[in-house]
């Protein structure tokens, strides 16, 4: 056994590449590629499957009523409940996220996403109505605009102010909010597609 191996190894080194027909080489490459690529394509299709899924966000969902918002304009945090799809699981009326809501007038409200536009952390609300991101110390004014400097005297890193969400106040004072996510790290507020 070992002798044969040695022989063939020695043979390989000594042998000059024989001429082979073009077809032989061509077919070897084609068949080799096909057997390699077909399973890989099947794999790639499932790997890229998320790209063809559309975001489920986009509908106005009821969140609370005007009475729940203090008249001093301080923000309050509310859970967003909607139908949640997580791959094969569908959960009706599940908590899918959170928002800050604040009153800006008798019948006007503003909704902010809790997701920091910088890197996606959960922004905290301070006692004075301002907002602060616990990760990279971005600070936002009560109206959601980004502060140029944070309390440590450093330049704020968030590229834009807190993302506002579309709201609607019904006749009887119910507040509806369109829960969306936006692309992080950009000065432009672009909805995630």
């Amino acid at each position: 056994m070992s002798e044969t191996n040695e022989q063939s190894e020695a043979g390989d080194a000594a042998m000059t590449p024989p001429r082979r027909s073009f077809m032989t080489r061509f077919l070897a490459v084609v068949f080799g590629t096909v057997v390699g690529v077909v399973p890989a394509i099947a794999g790639m299709m499932t790997l890229l499957d998320p790209l063809r899924r559309k975001s489920s966000a986009g509908e106005l969902v009821p969140v609370t009523s005007l009475e729940a918002l203090p008249s001093d304009g301080l923000p309050r945090k509310f859970d967003i409940r909607a139908d949640l799809t997580d791959a094969w699981n569908k959960t009706p009326n599940a908590k899918i996220g959170a928002i800050y809501l604040k009153r800006t007038g008798p019948k006007e409200v503003v909704a902010f996403s809790t997701i920091c536009p910088h890197a996606g952390c959960f922004v905290s609300a301070g006692g004075d109505g301002s907002f602060k991101c616990p990760c990279h110390d971005s600070e936002f004014n009560a109206d959601g605009s980004v502060r140029p400097m944070n309390t440590q005297g450093k330049a704020t890193v968030s590229p834009r102010g807190m993302d506002t969400l579309e709201t609607q106040v019904t006749e009887d004072g119910q507040i509806l909010v369109k829960f969306e996510r936006f692309r992080t790290g950009s000065t432009q507020k672009t909805p995630q597609g």
């Binding site: 791959a87 890197a119 309390t151 995630q192």
Partner: protein, 730 residues
């Protein structure tokens, strides 16, 4: 036996392989300094072995990941040890990698003909970092979830292709089952396979060119000692700073871990120096170097086991996209990258996230070319030392900035509490439902009650002097906005260091004695504290007998505890208790006995949760009879011949409704009712027509359910929490 061995060797040639592996020439003899590569291989093999065993018990999906990790950690025998080894070996691997890379660069082992192998080493470094990053998410706890969110958000921030790549990486628009399955496939499949492949090439190429011998090592020994001493002092200082308790004053507080680790390092270096003669004969890998490698691996394993026993692999509460988590930080070895992001505002973020790390990697790749000359090599060494110092500085900044943030420290403490509680719930006799542990957490009064209270009730009420979540009020103090930056820091630090976590304790502090504060700041803090006086009752212990007993104490009734700052504090009920002629204060012994009996009655009433639901008709009948006896007794005690409570209060249909309805008073159903709509239990709103007749006419507790502010589940959670009804392990 020999024949069988021969038979196999003829067919496989294993003897040649083993000979090649074990009898490699080591010029200059076996050395301690050659052990780093072997310890890395050892760590990787440990990770493979522990990883495969973990795999046998792990289940990647958003309803089972945390749950299966919990089960490994807390239920399976030896699970804590297995997970601890896997967790801490991963960290040891990072340290050893840094040492290995440092040594290669300082020794010039990246130079020709070893350039390609150096690059393969850099690829291996990236793979190991990838393994760390993907592994951090797999327990699906709050810590891993939020830290990984930052990492994937950075992918999204990349121009053009960012959002597409992010979607592929996390397997959809949002985190879920497929995020876990993809990360797990990377962590346990793709990356280890790539690592094995490159490791084989790495070791093969290393054997091809042999060890980079430093034959003139003895010359550099004095220099090595200087290096050792500097390293030792740095290690001691780092340990001292890391383990020192906040606010510690004694010089040895927190020094002991530093002394132990530092002592270990001294011992190790002593051993190295003792056992390393400056020049020796060439030798083989086996057994001299293998022994040294084995000792080094044993040292690594000992450190890992020590940390497993001393700290244990952490598991925070299950991941929840809707729960604020302000303690989100990456693993310590990524902290310098985390900190780096703080210096690149706006769209420059991409520079901190991608460009700078990319440029550093680029520099490392170019090192073999730069290092061709002596100056170039010196530059490389200087570069890598500066890189290490820079990373060290950023890590230091990240940790020290966090240490100074009271809200961060609070969040870390809260995360520990929540993690501990989630584990308690998962270990309860009812176990984890198929919907996952998050269901348990979200339906746990102990976890959710304080949060709901702080968010919805604490603007008026207090709970034991705080807002439900202990210590939170320090952070939420309405500090005068005139105090900025460093001054604010000083104020908050002073408050923290005073050990004052609760408003009541804070109020008891003589602020003029906190010397860290200027008189102006003292005044500002005092003003802030004065503003934080509650406007309504303190609800801690509301449903207990103690609460009711204190309520009828003429000395206590008028305190903040019962009526806060409401008008009820000057109302009829307070008068009824304090009046020295007809009130409780004037009661004779017979009346006092009646009052005690009445408290017994209400203790009974408070334990009823709505109508009787007992399915067995006989038992239900007995319960109903018992209830009727109690109610009759209450009627008698509160009627005209008793304490005349029914002149103002309603009790199971009897009495007047000008005061609070005492039917089912303080029971779960009653608390639910008052939160849902206070009018349902007789509390009048200022919009009511007869509000002028009421002492609390300006009292406006919102109808939380009627106005859609809280759902039924949240109200029930609050009621259960106020009543102290939650699962406690035996």
């Amino acid at each position: 036996m020999k024949r069988i061995a021969d038979w196999f060797d003829q067919r496989i040639g294993y003897r040649g392989l083993i000979r090649g592996m074990l009898y490699e020439q080591i010029p200059g003899g076996a050395r301690w300094r050659y052990v780093w590569g072997s310890t890395l291989v050892f760590c990787f093999l440990t990770q493979v072995v522990t990883g495969i065993f973990l795999w046998m018990a792990y289940s990647p999906s958003s309803q089972t990941a945390w749950e299966s990790v919990y089960y490994i950690q807390h239920e399976m025998s030896g699970g804590w040890l297995l997970r601890g080894i896997h967790h801490f070996t991963a960290q040891a691997m990072i340290i050893l990698l840094v040492l290995h890379v440092m040594q290669v660069i300082i020794d010039g082992a990246y130079k020709a003909p070893r350039e390609v192998n150096f690059w393969i080493g850099l690829i291996l470094l990236q793979i190991v970092l990838g393994l760390s990053l993907t592994g951090y998410l797999l327990p699906w706890d709050q810590k891993g979830y939020w830290a990984t969110k930052v990492a994937t958000s950075l992918i999204e921030a990349m121009p053009l292709v960012g959002p597409t790549i992010q979607k592929i990486v996390i397997g959809g628009h949002d985190y879920g089952h497929h995020t876990l399955s993809r990360f797990f496939a990377l962590h346990a499949g793709v990356l280890p396979a790539a690592l094995v492949l490159f490791l084989i090439i790495h070791v093969y190429a290393f054997r091809r060119h042999g060890i980079t011998a430093k034959l003139d090592e003895h010359k550099s020994l004095p220099l090595a000692h200087v290096g050792n001493i500097i390293g030792l002092v740095a290690a001691l200082a780092a340990c001292y700073w890391l383990f020192r308790a906040p606010g510690a004053t004694g010089i040895f507080d927190g020094l002991w871990p530093g002394v132990i680790i530092g002592g270990g390092i001294i011992l190790l270096f002593w051993l190295i120096i003792l056992l390393t003669p400056p020049r020796r004969k060439d030798t083989h890998f086996w057994p001299d170097q293998v022994l040294k490698d084995a000792v080094a691996c044993l040292a690594v394993l000992s450190a890992v086991i020590f940390l497993t026993c001393y700290l244990g692999a952490p598991l925070a509460a299950p991941a929840d996209a809707t729960a604020e988590f302000s303690a989100a930080r990456p693993e310590w070895y990524f902290l310098f990258l985390f900190q780096l992001l703080k210096y690149f505002p706006g769209e420059l973020e991409i520079i901190g996230a991608v460009v700078v790390p990319g440029a550093i990697m680029g520099m490392l790749v170019l090192m073999p070319f730069i290092g061709k000359t002596k100056v170039g090599h010196a530059f490389n060494v200087l570069f890598v030392l500066l890189l290490l110092a820079g990373a060290g500085y950023l890590t230091y900044e990240a940790i020290s900035q966090d240490k100074e943030k009271p809200e961060f420290n609070f969040a870390v403490r809260q995360a520990e509490i929540d993690g501990h509680r989630a584990v308690q719930l998962a270990g309860s006799p009812s176990g984890i439902p198929t919907t996952g542990a998050l269901t348990l957490v979200r339906d746990d009064p102990r976890t959710m009650g304080p949060r709901l209270f702080a968010a919805n009730c604490a603007s008026c009420h207090r709970f034991g002097g705080h807002d439900g979540m202990e210590g939170d009020l320090v952070q939420k103090l309405p500090i005068d906005p005139a105090i900025k930056g460093d001054e604010l820091k000083a104020v908050l630090n002073a408050l923290q260091n005073a050990g004052a976590e609760r408003i009541q304790q804070l109020r008891a502090i003589d602020l003029t004695k906190i010397t860290a504060l200027t008189p102006a700041q003292q005044k500002a803090v005092q003003a802030a504290l004065d503003k934080s006086v509650p406007t309504a009752a303190d609800l801690k212990g509301f449903a207990t007998r103690k609460w009711l007993t204190e309520f009828f104490d003429p000395k206590l009734i008028a305190t903040h505890q019962f009526f806060g700052g409401t008008k009820f504090a000057d109302g009829k009920m307070v008068e009824t208790v304090t009046d020295k002629d007809v009130g409780v204060a004037s009661y004779d012994d017979a009346q006092k006995k009646q009052l005690a009996e009445l408290i017994d009655v209400f203790d009974q009433v408070a334990s009823w949760d709505g109508p009787i639901t007992e399915p067995d008709p006989k038992k239900a009948e007995a319960l109903a009879a018992a209830r009727k006896t109690t109610i009759d007794k209450g009627m008698e005690l509160m009627g005209d011949d008793g304490l005349t409570c029914l002149d103002c209060h309603k009790f199971y249909g009897e009495g007047k409704a000008s005061g609070v309805d005492l039917t089912d008073y303080r029971s779960r159903a009653w608390i639910r009712a008052i939160i849902s709509n206070p009018r349902d239990v007789g509390y009048k709103n200022k919009t009511d027509a007869n509000d002028n007749d009421l002492p609390g006419g300006k009292y406006t507790m919102p109808a939380f359910h009627k106005t859609n502010q809280l759902d039924e589940q949240s109200i029930d959670l609050l009621a259960r929490w106020l009543r102290g009804e939650w699962y406690e392990p035996k």
